[in-house]
Symmetry: C2
Subunit: 339 residues, 2 copies
DNA sequence: AGGCGCGAGGAAAAGGCTTTCCTTGTAGCC
DNA sequence: GGCTACAAGGAAAGCCTTTTCCTCGCGCCT
């Protein structure tokens, strides 16, 4: 690869001059030299070595984000918002998929630190795991102690700024909707127990239940992987255990889609026989049949705010912002069948 | 941030020793020093500066991939395959979203070159744009000239190794299916004209049409954005212009889902009134109603092969591999309504 | 005892760039 | 003419690691 020095030699100038021209420094250089240098750059197809630049410059210009999986629509939206703001502020974004493996999450924090990122954004559910939380906080604190900025979305008890999606409240809204419609036998298709998102959303559902003098007995809560197939598996189990179920609350839309698939397979109509509700309002939610009644989280905005917090040098670190949830009425929720 | 020198000072050893211990070099160091150094590393929360390492080491260990958008299922799958192989071979992957903007694609090639990546993988449709193709090839050649490896998926006329999805053949398969079912008035919901993927898939459809002594007149081909909303718009236009349509071939599943939405809105049943077929077999294809008849491309494998080619140092660069397409029968294709 | 080899650790260069501080040359002034 | 002041370009010092090449000391052999 051609280096700065190669260009300088070819143009017959010093490395300093080339650097100034290539980076558009304010220092004035004569038209003639500029031209010679630019020509040499062209001829040698010179591209500055980003690592050397990073080493030589003092200011950082990359931020890292750790998500479960960017191709999951939930995180795709958050990332979109994040990228937009990053782009506006001239920052590059490094995306890391943790696949919900705490170990890997820890590794990625180190990796991002090694990459000298200006800020780390952690998105996605936390874990009920004190040892992990402690380890994570230790790593993040060390990073913050050296000027790194941290911002998390939807995590309790982690150092740094935070944007908190209204998981509890969103679930409460949708729970109210279900109970108000008259359902008494409600099953919950839940994500793994150790995710804080699960706990939060279940809490919202429970609050709604209490308000309607109903309960959500443990035997009607089935935990499974937080995706389409998990939703299908949990629904099948639920249906087998409780044939009288008239409504299923899935803890996200992917799981709801899995539920829909099982219901269809078993010849149960939705919402005629069984109602189904989701969570997150991912784009596909309106295109399945029946279209999903769900809760929308302003994901793009959440991502944008998370990075904005991290990049705002004014305020010292721990600030918490809330993100509202809104109900989206579609067709998958109706009154219970009158049996 | 703590540096190697800080650790060395604290442990009372030289920088060389610290480096050797931290990197597990084969050189032997006494237990005592090792312990002192490791303790200092802990205390200072030292993490090596990745950029300095890159500068100092000779071998590269990152690869870059340029896709339209990782959160698009098509590219998500390709990326998954790619990441798997990259992980196995100890490589890090930098993902760049071009959002189908040729300009941005060019910029990303430069950026990846600046990052000193070992290989660049370019995935996604090419463009019918000689100026762009020339510029891209110039950049890639410059990169390859300095030892960079390039591998593309689904691009004609680009330097480097290639994996070619069977776009033409897949479309041929599905076209045959449509015409064999007896459809005479077939509309095509197509992606933008300047994408080579569009041309290839249309060619396959046309070949099937010729075989059945049918034609695909231009007025029954509607071009739109390569996504759900584009599919909806094109379908609406097609239906307005040709109410007698009995089948719609969408050039990918997202567009097919948009078509399904419009059809449902207009009270047309699928496949009773109008049949719909997609392309790509993205995961959601089986969960919409009716489940999509489509063509499957082995996307994960395509990604894996693309990076495997790039990382294989044996062979010199231009090798071309083909990836087969297979038909997936589901419910969205039926015989034409007998009107 | 002298020489050799070897093992453990350190010194220093290299890697590519930015940026501060200098040098040099020229214009402008008295 | 001699001086200052300023503009343009260059020299060189970092930035942080890795790695090659040394050095030093010790044990062993003859």
């Amino acid at each position: 690869m051609a280096t700065l020095a190669d260009v300088a030699r070819r143009a017959g100038v010093s490395a300093a001059t080339v650097s100034r021209i290539v980076n558009g420094s304010p220092k004035i250089v004569s038209e003639e030299l500029r031209e010679r240098v630019l020509r040499a750059v062209q001829e040698l197809q010179y591209v500055p070595n980003a690592h050397a630049q990073l080493l030589a410059r003092s200011h950082r210009t990359t931020v890292g984000v750790i998500v479960h999986d960017v191709s999951d629509p939930y995180f795709a939206e958050i990332t979109r918002g994040l990228q937009r703001v990053a782009g506006e502020q001239g920052r590059l974004v490094i995306i890391c998929n943790s696949y919900r493996d705490p170990e890997r999450e820890l590794e990625y924090v180190e990796l991002l630190r090694a990459q000298q990122v200006e800020a780390i954004i952690l998105a996605g559910s936390g874990y009920h795991d004190p040892a992990f939380t402690k380890a994570l906080n230790a790593k993040l604190s060390a990073y913050m102690a050296t000027g790194g900025r941290v911002s998390v979305v939807g995590r309790h008890k982690v150092a740094g700024d935070a944007v908190m999606p209204a998981n509890e409240h969103g679930a409460y809204l949708i729970g109210r909707e279900i109970f108000a419609a008259g359902h008494r036998h409600v099953g919950v298709v839940a994500a793994p127990k150790q995710l804080t998102t699960t706990t939060d959303r279940l809490a919202g559902l429970r609050r709604a239940a209490r308000e309607y003098r109903r309960t959500l007995p443990a035997r009607r809560i089935e935990y499974a992987e937080f995706d389409r197939d998990g939703g299908a598996a949990a629904t099948a189990a639920l249906l087998d255990a409780e044939p009288r179920l008239t409504a299923i609350a899935a803890l996200n839309d992917s799981m709801a889609i899995g539920a829909l698939a099982v219901l269809r397979e078993r010849g149960l109509s939705v919402p005629g026989d069984v109602s189904v509700v989701g969570f997150d309002d991912m784009p596909i939610a309106r295109d399945v049949t029946p279209a999903l009644t769900t809760v929308r989280l302003p994901l793009v905005e959440i991502g944008a705010r998370a990075i904005a917090l991290a990049l705002d040098p004014q305020h010292p670190n721990p600030r918490v912002e809330d993100a509202e949830a809104t109900l989206v009425h579609r067709e998958s929720l109706g009154p219970p069948r009158s049996s």
